[in-house]
């Protein structure tokens, strides 16, 4: 607790504490629905609420049966497999294309920079349902609807903006003369890019890739439109699970997704700090 300034009168204090209360409530309402899922996923009963035994911490009221359910249910296993296949392939495509686009858009010689940037970022800005509907009609024409290729392309397009944003941020601190120094050392443009630019922007590339993966992994709207029965992903399976057979299996899946997200977030933070350290070397200190 910080000491309040001594000149604070009643209204100051009231303002101070209401702000504090407001801020904490926002955080509370953001986090609680997520946290509450975790203990519920270990529920021994097929309910979405805390049983008496859970409240009294009776070990028999807790079980791993819903987790077991994921591993034994073919639908869930297929969904997990699909999510990873689509996630990994769309991440690879989004990362390569996004990195190249970010490097090009950071060049001082690039014409119409803002317009191009806006177009590439548009999947992030336009309501997803519109993007998804558009993709559905467009991809149907190319026989891409209901195929893995279609979903991978769609998720790549959704992931690219994140890659571009993170890499552009890393490149904004990148000193282009380093690239020139590579050239003057005798390295070809490609070699200079690989040896000098890539290692320095690597943290940005990795965090962009992670954002792209999470985007694909979480995505449900486009999947609803484009996926056939063979391409059900985890979010899609959860969605139908909610409507068809309500049981805490989806809570177990959700808990696993939360765990993955937390691991990603921590990794991102570590990368960000490393990137800052690398760039810190650049400064005139």
């Amino acid at each position: 607790m910080t000491q309040l300034p001594s000149y604070y009168k009643f209204w100051h204090k009231l303002g101070h504490y209401s702000l504090k209360f407001g801020a904490w409530s926002v955080l509370f309402f953001l986090i609680l629905p997520i946290l509450v899922i975790i203990p519920l996923s270990f529920n021994a009963e097929p309910f979405f609420s805390f049983t008496r035994g859970m409240v009294t911490l009776d070990p028999d009221s807790y079980s791993l049966r819903w987790y077991n359910n994921i591993v034994t249910n073919d639908n869930w296993l297929l969904a997990v497999k699909n999510s990873f296949i689509i996630g990994i392939f769309s991440t690879i495509i989004a990362t390569i294309l996004g990195t190249l686009a970010a490097v090009g858009l950071s060049s001082q010689y690039m014409p119409f920079k803002r317009v191009i940037m806006l177009i590439i970022l548009s999947p992030m800005i336009v309501p997803l349902i519109i993007v998804a509907a558009g993709m559905f009609f467009f991809y149907t024409k190319f026989n891409l609807a209901g195929s893995f290729a279609g979903l991978v392309i769609a998720h790549s397009a959704l992931g690219i903006p994140f890659v571009i944003i993170t890499i552009t941020a890393t490149l904004s601190g990148f000193d282009r003369t380093l690239y020139f120094a590579g050239l003057s050392s005798g390295a070809s443009p490609v070699r200079s890019f690989v040896d000098i630019v890539v290692p320095i922007i690597r943290p940005g590339v990795i965090s962009g890739a992670m954002f792209a993966f999470i985007t694909s992994f979480d995505e449900v709207v486009v999947v609803l439109f484009l996926a056939g029965p063979g391409q059900r992903t985890i979010p899609r399976q959860m969605f139908s699970g909610l409507r068809e057979q309500i049981n805490p299996t989806i809570l177990a899946v959700a808990t696993l997704l939360i765990a993955i997200s937390v691991i990603f977030l921590v990794t991102l933070e570590v990368l960000r700090q490393r990137s800052n350290r690398l760039r810190g070397l650049e400064g005139h200190n």
Partner: protein
């Protein structure tokens, strides 16, 4: 100009550069640079000097004209194939590589055997007096040390030509002077040809064999430091290099290469003719503050064969090794006199008048603009 065999090493022939197809940043640049020369491109910012260096390095294209290295055109050669060393203003050391890896990089690209790379890196670390620093990242080095590494990285693959783009700009004054010596020492020792860009004229004067003074994309004069300082070919050079006084007057008489003008005090000043002035036109005479001699009022020493200008003392500034006197002429122009602080510096009070003597050979007459 030098004889052809000497000047064959690097030649700029009618080189022009334009970014917008309209305005020329570099206009008709012609220069021959003999092997082993330390040439400085000096000029204010935006004068085109850096553009010339960038065209030389290949980072900027040449709009028209040719650059010839050892008789072969490199105008359309990719930068990485030119085999030219370059030192950047902000060092441009690769932050993710150690000092030794930075030095080894140009050699690694050239597929030099590992054992030889190691041997050469050690030799160059010794050359820049950074033995034992090889394993450190660039971030742990001071500015001066980083610049020495950048220099070594540009030299390690033994290019015959090394370009330096204001390499000392980011260093403080003391370090800069130290590095000037260091660069000169390496140049003498290794014998490479250097093209050095700076806007710092002291740096240019102390380090160069020749200086090309740039303004508005045109070389104003290219000569050895002494020549540039002692015999400026135009008013820009006279004003840009070192400190100079400009005294205005009306042209009264023109002899073959001497001009006589009447200045605002009514006194006559003779100067060497640089620009073609007409009798009756206004012209300005440049004379360096250290080429003026102070004589207190009344004394007649040396008046007969010297120019005499009488001025009123505005301010006396004690600098330490010398003393600066600011005089005012009737036309409200100031004249600065620099006198060595060797106990002969006369004691004049503010408001007093004094006579400033100068030799005809130290005065240069230019057209007033």
């Amino acid at each position: 100009m030098n004889s052809d065999s000497e000047s064959d090493f690097l030649r700029f022939a009618n080189v022009q550069k334009s970014y917008d197809q309209k305005n020329l940043v570099v206009k008709d640049f012609n220069l021959n640079i003999p092997e082993g020369e330390f040439l400085t491109l000096l000029g204010p910012s935006g004068s085109g000097k850096t553009t010339v260096l960038m065209m030389m390095a290949g980072f900027e294209s040449v709009t028209s004209g040719e650059i010839l290295l050892k008789g072969e055109s490199i105008t359309r050669t990719a930068p990485y194939k030119r085999n030219i060393g370059m030192v950047f203003q902000n060092y441009a050391l690769f932050p993710h590589m150690s000092i030794a890896e930075n030095l080894a990089y140009p050699l690694k690209i050239r597929r030099i055997p590992k054992s030889e790379i190691k041997e050469r890196v050690d030799r160059y670390l010794e050359l820049i007096e950074l033995q034992g620093f090889g394993g450190r990242p660039p971030g742990q080095l001071s500015g001066g040390q980083r610049q020495r590494v950048a220099l070594a990285r540009a030299l390690i693959f033994q290019p015959s030509l090394v370009l330096m783009d204001e390499p000392l700009g980011a260093l403080d004054k003391k370090l800069r002077e130290q590095m000037q010596l260091e660069i000169s020492r390496l140049h003498k020792k290794l014998g490479f040809t250097a093209i050095y860009v700076t806007h710092d004229q002291t740096e240019a004067l102390t380090m160069s064999d020749r200086i090309a003074v740039f303004n508005n994309g045109v070389v104003q004069q290219c000569a050895a430091p002494e020549v540039l300082y002692e015999q400026p070919e135009n008013a820009f050079v006279a004003e840009f290099i070192g400190e100079n006084n400009f005294i205005f007057g009306v042209v009264k008489e023109i002899r073959s290469n001497v001009i006589e003008i009447e200045i605002s005090t009514g006194e006559m000043v003779r100067a060497r003719k640089v620009d073609d002035c007409q009798i009756g036109s206004i012209c300005k005479v440049s004379v360096r503050p250290e080429k003026l001699f102070l004589i207190s009022e009344g004394s007649q020493d040396g008046s007969s064969d010297n120019n005499v200008i009488t001025g009123k003392l505005l301010l006396r500034q004690y600098v330490g090794d010398y003393i600066r006197y600011y005089f005012e002429l009737p036309d409200e122009k100031e004249v600065v006199v620099k006198v060595l602080n060797d106990h002969t510096a006369p004691n004049i009070d503010r408001g007093q008048t004094a006579r400033l003597l100068s030799k005809e050979n130290d005065c240069f007459a230019f057209m007033a603009d």
